[in-house]
């Protein structure tokens, strides 16, 4: 019995409450004997008691409730009218039920007393009478009445044996009984009989209770026992607590006002008084909140039983781990998450954890583990339901969603795993029929999500196929008083619950550059991620004045982040949430209202509601992502360059990416050995290049200390000796090639108001040491002809130079179209192309080439400033053979040689 104690306690308290109400309802019933609704309500209460009593095996209680229900059903169906006698009988039944409940509470057992059995007989007879009245002595109700006594008599006979109702099998009862004493044997046999022979004996059974009828009247007087339901705790209606909480909230608001006024008046006595009031109010509010707090363990402790039963019925083995059971939550929230949690736990065992033999096959321990974990995180309670089962197959979820018509195949393709998992929560994703292979999660998951969101919480799934699933619920601690950020829009204040807040961004002319317009939507580029943004004024439908300084509030709605542009950000404040009237129910962007310290009202924004309002579709976000990708590619010319001086008058630049290291050395470290200037660097001798030796420029002045720009090729290193490093900047390079046609200079440009020479690092190093770079030109009678398409003159020249240095014959084109035309006129062995170019992009060029019969086999290598997997994939689809990063000279050359070898070896 011990296991059920918890449930039993619940049952008793619930029953006690219901019974109190029953009394009132019966009194009402006497006045309105034909009130259907009233009758239905009474019927339900009695029915519940009957059901639970049956569950626990309280036979007497079940039987009394059964007959009372019988009578009530006739009343409810209007077959008979509730007269005084009937109501009397029913009231008596309720009294007996109360007495049994009281006994149950005290001893955990049904009372053993003949009065109950006597009453039961009375009640049964009465029920029969009522049934006859209802049907005019018709057959069906009689049959029903016949059946019932059998049940009752069984109950009756069990009572005298003083056996507590138990789950023991009759067989066992027999065994025990027999082993006790011989004289008990016949009794035990008789006891076992009705349950075994059941209906066969039922006909003769009704006889048995009859003798009791002889003395019903006498016993009736002492029959109704005086019931005194003792209470260990004062049960307070949650509604009352809600009201208290509301009042405390009001008090907080009044206090806030008073404090403001007091500070204006500056009267010492008043100040003291308000301070005192303030303290007491805070404490009161905390205490009231505490009355509503309960450890989440109260819910968690329902699960051992559920897990045990489920594990047993499914043949799985499950360990249940409970963590953070003493984490406290508002009572109303605890109540509200009970069902969603049960659902999730069921799902985990039903569809997550595998059968023991399957687990062993997968290399997992045969016993699965289910973890229920609760902890505080930033003013919220996080509840995790974690299993180490088979996980959710995202692809199957997508398929299912497509079948259900929730998404199109095209949408499915673009979806991220997280978005796809969110499909599970869509209404209609899963109907009652089980989705066996997808772990079946989703049965009613939309309901779970709705319930959690109603609490101001969020739900999130993490899953790894084959390894398990974690469902994470984030729930606010309490619904009544929450920390919120106060923002303004056109002079009005709004509160944003802080749980949704990610970060704040001030919008200055500088940061505004990160706002991109894509289609109708605006996006903010936040550390490389595109976050959709929307103006609060637009959501509210207010005509907004253009402003200099706005603020961007980055919010998280559970599924995604988005930015809200507001005029000003005020303070964060504890606010008292007041529900909005029902007229505002359909306005999803507000979660409620609150009253600020000055007595004015502010609306609370509903972050989830707003995110829906934005109505951002997957495609939009996708488009944004693509554009970001395109941006990074298009930023070819936006290069990090390093500015330095050799002599103070002249400024030089090289791409920073080419530099392996920047360092400083003392002048005395420089040595001149064997006609070469070297420096001891990191335990090795490194050759030094003085640029004035190769370029017509001012010489390096004598200095105590020099800067080194170190370049590396494999193991080898070489360094430029320069006097000063000016800066490293990211800039657009508009290179003028005509002004300086000197070997080793790519061109000139104005950088930081100074004419700057862009040096060709490769060329200069080669001039210094022709053997510095390993030549990887494949062996052929004639050099390979390379067509280089690159729109940036800076890169065009640099790449052309290093290709030529490597022994290729290089022809250049300024864009895709130019390259296409050149390809028509002359034969080339290979095309090396940039991706982002005006007129015709590298991708378009590649597609065109592959479509052309004569050129279809031309090897194509693409160069970009950085190669992501996504670029690579797009390139490969267009027919590009190789993908390399421009500035990685060694890799480019190696890959090019490789590509040519591959292509022409195959052709030959």
């Amino acid at each position: 019995m011990g296991f059920e104690e918890d449930v039993l306690k619940d049952f008793i308290t619930e029953a006690k409450e219901n019974l109190e109400r029953l009394d009132e309802e019966f009194v009402e019933l006497e006045q309105h004997p034909e009130d259907r609704e009233l009758l239905s309500s009474i019927f339900r209460t009695i029915h519940t008691i009957k059901g639970t009593a049956g569950f626990f095996g309280f036979k007497t209680l079940e039987a009394i409730a059964h007959f009372a229900e019988d009578i009530l059903s006739k009343l409810r169906d209007g077959l008979v009218v509730a007269d005084e006698e009937t109501i009397d009988m029913l009231l008596k039944a309720v009294d007996y039920i109360k007495a049994i409940i009281a006994a149950l509470e005290e001893t955990g057992k049904e009372p053993v007393d003949e009065t109950y059995l006597d009453f039961l007989v009375d009640l049964r007879n009465f029920a029969e009478k009522v049934a006859k009245k209802a049907e005019g002595g018709g057959a069906p109700p009689k049959e029903k009445a016949e059946e019932a006594p059998a049940q009752e008599s069984k109950a009756e006979e069990q009572k005298p044996s003083e056996e507590p109702p138990s789950e023991e099998k009759p067989e066992e009862a027999q065994a025990v009984a027999e082993s006790q004493k011989d004289q008990e044997e016949p009794k035990a046999e008789e006891k076992a009989a009705p349950s075994e022979e059941g209906k066969a004996k039922a006909e003769s059974k009704p006889e048995a209770p009859k003798p009791a009828l002889a003395s019903p009247k006498k016993k009736e007087d002492k029959g109704v026992p005086h019931v005194h339901l003792t209470e260990t705790h004062v049960r307070v209606d949650v509604k009352l607590l809600d009201q208290l909480m509301n009042l405390a909230g009001e008090l907080v608001l009044s206090r806030n006002r008073l404090v403001q006024i007091a500070s204006r008046i500056s009267d010492a006595e008043l100040q003291n008084a308000t301070q005192n009031l303030s303290l007491v109010t805070t404490e009161l509010q905390e205490k009231i909140m505490k009355t509503r707090m309960q450890p989440i363990g109260n819910v968690f402790n329902k699960f051992p039983r559920i897990v045990r039963d489920l594990a047993r019925s499914t043949g799985k083995k499950v360990n249940l781990r409970i963590e953070g059971a003493d984490t406290e939550l508002d009572r109303s929230i605890i109540d509200a998450i009970k069902d969603p949690l049960t659902h999730l736990v069921r799902n985990s065992i039903d569809h997550g954890i595998e059968e023991p033999d399957i687990r062993v096959q997968m290399g997992k321990p045969p016993v699965g583990t289910l973890v229920l974990r609760a902890y505080h995180e930033g003013g919220q309670v996080v509840i995790e339901i974690e299993d180490d089962g088979r996980g959710i197959d995202v692809e199957k979820v997508k398929q299912k969603a497509i079948e259900k018509g929730l998404i199109t195949p095209a949408e499915a393709e673009k979806m991220s795993d997280r978005e796809a998992l969110a499909l599970i929560f869509k209404p209609g994703f899963s109907t009652a029929q089980k989705v066996t292979n997808i772990s079946g999660r989703g049965v009613g998951m939309d309901v779970v999500k709705t319930n959690v969101e109603k609490l101001g919480g969020s739900i999130d799934i993490q899953t790894v196929l084959g390894a398990g699933t974690t469902v994470r619920l984030k729930i606010p601690l309490t619904l009544a008083i929450i920390p919120a950020l106060v923002v303004t829009c056109e002079g009005q204040r709004y509160a944003i619950p802080q749980v949704s807040l990610r970060e704040l961004v001030g919008l200055s002319p500088e940061t505004r550059k990160n706002i991109h317009q894509i289609g109708d939507s605006e996006f903010f580029r936040l550390r490389g991620e595109m976050v959709p943004i929307i103006r609060l004024s637009k959501i509210l439908g207010i005509e907004a004045q253009p402003r200099e300084n706005e603020s961007l509030v980055i919010l998280n709605s559970g599924a995604m982040d988005f930015g809200l542009v507001v005029d000003e950000i005020w303070d964060s404040e504890e606010i008292v949430v007041k529900p909005l009237g029902k007229h505002f129910k359909d306005i999803s962007i507000f979660a409620g209202a609150t009253i600020m310290g000055d007595g004015k009202m502010a609306l609370i924004l509903d972050v989830v509601g707003i995110s829906r309002k934005i109505g951002l579709k997957v495609e939009d976000v996708d488009k944004a992502k693509e554009e970001t990708a395109a941006k990074t590619v298009g930023e070819d010319e936006q290069q990090f360059i390093l500015l330095f001086n050799v002599s103070p008058e002249e400024q030089f630049a090289i791409p920073l990416a080419l530099v392996a290291r920047l360092d400083k050395i003392k002048a005395e470290k420089l040595e001149f050995v064997g006609g070469k200037e070297i420096v001891q660097y990191r335990g090795r001798s490194m050759p030094i290049i003085r640029l004035e030796n190769y370029l017509p420029i001012q010489p390096l002045p004598e200095q105590e200390e020099y800067h080194l720009l170190v370049f590396a090729e494999g193991e080898r290193e070489v360094a430029f000796l320069v006097s000063r490093i000016v800066d490293s900047i990211q800039t657009h390079v508009k290179l003028d090639e005509r002004l300086y046609q000197i070997e080793g200079v790519l061109g000139s440009a104005i950088v930081k108001d100074r004419t700057t020479l862009f040096l060709d690092v490769y060329k200069i190093i080669e001039m210094h040491d022709p053997y510095f770079f390993v030549k990887i030109v494949p062996q052929e009678e004639r050099p390979y002809r390379v067509l280089l398409a690159e729109d940036s003159p800076f890169f065009r020249q640099m790449i052309a130079n290093y290709l030529a240095a490597a022994g290729y014959e290089v022809e250049t084109a300024v864009d895709g179209l130019d390259a296409w035309e050149k390809l028509q006129k002359e034969p080339f062995d290979v095309l090396v192309t940039d991706i982002e170019m005006p007129n015709m992009t590298g991708i378009e060029l590649a597609k065109k080439i592959r479509a052309d019969e004569r050129l279809a086999n031309l090897p194509i290598m693409a160069l970009t400033s950085l190669a992501s997997d996504e670029d690579r994939r797009r390139g490969l689809e267009a027919g590009i053979d190789e993908y390399q990063v421009k500035l990685e000279r060694a890799k480019v050359l190696e890959a090019l040689a490789d590509l040519l070898n591959r292509k022409y070896a195959r052709a030959a």
Binding site: N301, N319, I322, D326, Q462, G468, R527, S868
Partner: protein, 313 residues
């Protein structure tokens, strides 16, 4: 065959507590120690009995509870034991989750190192970030991707993104005496284990021994003639197979008890073992046997008739 009975060897009653057992052993040992001229085999047998009982009666780390855990943090697991193990308080091996340790597969990073990856947008794939503007040139390792230039996007399949994984630990636990099916066993926190652990007992029959409710029964199947002739029967007890005589008046369907031979109780004494005798009636008797049986039936019927007529007279 007589089963090993340490109580008899030590000369004490099965009710004896640890203290008494110890005393009895010391006394006997003084008597039979080989150094003092005792027989070696006898002494070894004595020692074995003593050690056997000490082990059996030694306290278990597990406590018996009748209820499921009521609160706090805990692990609820299931413990599969046989009826014999439970009755005798045997030592069983269980696997429980150990404390969390960094996931060895992803090195605590939480992501699958061989899964999908994307370019780190923070450093744009460079793995390092430069500070611009001032005269100083500083490169720092990208804090987002840790210098790899890539972000792993798949969760680690072993720890599922937690970066930590709970290992497993094998525990050798002595079942407490007196535990019965349906009980919950509680293992309080100890070194290397911070958590309360509860086991729900799942008891499986072992051989003919099985629990019915909280009682231990041994099932014996006897052909009807053996039973009728009052022959002795082979019974599986906790100590092994034994031949026992059923009392004359014993009737099928009732239970026979072997006193103090049943499962241990919490105080170290033993309950009775209940023997359920089931009688089988083979459906295909050899014709010769059948004939004899018919003969037997005729004799009995005649006896009854005579008795009835005798009564009448």
């Amino acid at each position: 065959m007589k089963a090993f009975d340490p109580y008899r060897i030590l000369g004490i009653s099965p009710e004896a507590k640890l203290e008494e057992i110890r005393r009895a052993f010391r006394e006997k040992a003084r008597q039979f120690h080989p150094d003092l001229g005792g027989k070696k085999e006898l002494f070894l047998e004595l020692k074995r009995s003593y050690e056997f009982l000490c082990e059996r009666l030694s306290p278990s780390k597990l406590r018996i509870l009748k209820e499921r855990p009521q609160g706090g943090n805990y692990l609820l697991s299931f413990l599969d034991v046989t009826a014999r193990e439970l009755a005798l308080g045997a030592t069983v091996t269980v696997t429980v989750p150990a404390e969390e340790r960094p996931c060895p597969y992803c090195k605590g990073r939480g992501h699958n190192p061989s899964g999908r990856k994307k370019t780190c947008l923070f450093c744009e794939g460079r793995g390092e970030i430069e500070f611009l503007g001032s005269q100083k040139h500083l490169k720092i390792v990208c804090p987002r991707c840790g210098g790899t230039g890539e972000i792993l996007t798949d969760l680690c399949p072993h720890c599922r993104g937690r970066g930590e994984i709970a290992g497993e630990r094998e525990l050798s636990l002595k079942l407490p005496l007196g535990a019965r099916p349906g009980d919950i066993l509680y293992l309080p926190p100890q070194e290397e284990q911070e958590m309360d652990i509860y086991f729900e007992l799942q008891v499986h029959p072992s051989g003919n021994l099985f629990f019915e409710g909280r009682k231990l029964l041994s099932r014996v199947v006897v052909p009807f003639w053996k039973f009728a002739l009052g022959q002795s029967v082979e019974v599986e007890t906790l100590e092994g197979w034994e031949r026992i005589e059923l009392p004359q008046e014993f009737q099928p369907g009732s239970l026979f008890r072997l006193p103090k031979r049943g499962p241990y109780q919490e105080d170290g004494t033993r309950e009775d073992l209940l023997i359920r005798v089931e009688i089988i009636f083979p459906s295909d008797l050899p014709s010769k046997a059948r004939k004899k049986l018919e003969e037997f039936a005729q004799i009995m019927e005649k006896e009854e008739e005579d008795a009835a007529s005798g009564h009448r007279n």
